[in-house]
């Protein structure tokens, strides 16, 4: 039964869209810096999924390479970002982004 074994590529894309939307939701609705950060990671993952899906469709390895790069950059980003969060927390004892707004006004 081929239609049972074969998954349409579009489903993968839709899945990645859903995940991306969830990431945005987290980014928009959450107030904890770390959670927001994690939502960003979620978005990155969603994009990666579509990359890999396309690389499967095009029978090319490039998409996976991009995913690889995204991961590496995400790692770097996480390192720096978390360091920043640590420093911010050290200085103002809060993780709520709305309260870290001394540059505003």
């Amino acid at each position: 039964m081929p239609q049972l074994t074969a998954v349409p590529l579009s489903w993968y894309l839709i899945l990645s869209a859903i995940l991306f939307a969830l990431g945005i939701a987290g980014f928009v609705f959450r107030r904890n810096v770390i959670t927001v950060f994690m939502s960003i990671e979620l978005m990155l993952n969603a994009v990666n999924l579509s990359f890999v899906a396309f690389s499967h469709q095009l029978r090319q390895v490039d998409g996976q390479i991009y995913t690889f790069f995204v991961m590496v950059v995400a790692a770097a980003e996480a390192a720096v970002g978390l360091a920043i969060i640590l420093t911010v927390f050290k200085n103002r004892q809060t993780l709520t982004i709305d309260e870290v707004s001394s540059l505003k006004n």
């Binding site: 489903w11 899945l15 987290g26 904890n32 999924l49 890999v52 996976q64 993780l95």
Partner: protein, 166 residues
């Protein structure tokens, strides 16, 4: 078989994603994110990207998220306090917009799907060998540059996070 796996892990991923958003506690969110990543890794396997799947686990779940959990523990982050300032645009627009967003994308992809074709397990499998070959031939320069970037990031993290020793 593929279909079953896909549906299973896709639903796991979505569920974890939702819980990432709705969970009040950072640790819970972190764990659900790890869940997403794990299921994504399985999906990568289904897509035949073995190497990427492994790296997904090692780098994301094994390194990045550990870092997150570590920081959360270190700061002993508590549950989110309800925010004082409400920013109405995100409140009002957010959810419907997201719904529309997903709906439109889904519609588009569905329209496209005949031209996109289907995914069959094992139709296209890439292990470390192909990745390595491509990475060190076509993508050598980006690779090197990325390594420099990572180095810089490490330095930056150290500089940021170290205590000022006077």
């Amino acid at each position: 078989m593929d279909l079953i796996f896909f549906l299973l892990f896709a639903s796991i991923a979505v569920g974890c994603g939702i819980s990432l958003v709705v969970q009040k506690h950072p640790i819970a969110s972190a764990l659900s994110l790890i869940g997403v990543m794990g299921s994504l890794a399985v999906l990568y396997l289904l897509l035949g990207a073995e190497f990427i799947a492994a790296v997904q686990l090692i780098v994301y779940a094994g390194a990045i998220m550990v870092l997150f959990v570590f920081v959360i523990m270190l700061l002993n982050a508590a549950e989110e306090a309800p925010s004082r300032k409400t920013n109405w645009p995100s409140r009002l627009l957010g959810v419907p917009l997201l719904a529309v967003f997903v709906a439109l994308l889904a519609y588009l992809f569905d329209k496209m799907s005949p031209s996109l074709g289907t995914v069959t397990f094992g139709a296209f499998t890439t292990g470390g060998k192909q990745i390595g070959r491509s990475l060190f031939n076509n993508y050598l320069l980006p690779f090197e540059v990325t390594s420099v970037l990572v180095l810089i990031a490490i330095l930056g993290a150290i500089v940021l996070a170290r205590k000022e020793i006077d």
